[in-house]
């Protein structure tokens, strides 16, 4: 089980703050592919991810119980 956190426009597009999916041992890139098709989110290409609050690379592995955040371009300040 992986928890996916959504923010900003992604949160609005999906109408929820998080989704939970039954996966583990896949890469970040693979996870994004799955989300693109399952949730019809074409704009994920430009979106960073964090695993357990640390920025992740596309090749990083997502494990059971991880919290993955989808991070659109930030605009703090």
């Amino acid at each position: 089980m992986i928890t996916i956190l959504l923010f900003a426009q992604l949160q609005e597009t999906l109408g929820k703050e998080r989704v939970v999916i039954e996966e583990s041992g896949i890469t970040v890139a693979e996870l994004k592919e799955k989300l693109k098709t399952s949730y019809n989110l074409p704009q994920l290409d430009h979106i960073m991810t964090a695993i357990n609050e640390e920025y992740a690379l596309p090749t990083d592995i997502v494990s059971e119980g991880d919290v993955v955040a989808l991070i659109p371009p930030v605009s703090g300040g």
Binding site: A8, E12, A50, E53, E54, P73, V74, S75, G76, G77
Partner: protein
Amino acid sequence: MDRSLFEIVEEPIQVDKIIEKVSRRDAGAITTFLGTVREWTMGRKTIYLEYQAYKPMAEKMLVQIGKEIQEKWPDTVVAINHRVGQLDISEVAVAIAVSSPHRKAAYDANEYAIERIKQIVPIWKKEHWEDGETWIGDQLEQTAYPKGEPFLKEE
């Protein structure tokens, strides 16, 4: 690194308080930066802004920026508060205070902090314009992370 120096807050930011946090007997210079809500952007009128944060990670990233500054300018002390929620025109979204024995480091470290905030801290801004609303990708209206992975330090 004292984590209370780096906070995501919901209440209005008080500049005095953040200056107090960095004030000390061996400082000769304290710089602050306030990012405030501007009414006009490229001819478009803002009514108010909304900031959203991935709070635990955002605070971690502020702490990381503090560490980077400590390495580059070892004599400085820095504190950063970023507000989330709805902000009206002229309200303070972010406040950065840096104290240093000498002024050059206080200016440079402060400017570095705001640059890094805009690169790596997971906070998003929604503009509520007079004629609509938009989540802002980034403030330069560039694409995501033009400088590469956001967690890489710039040299």
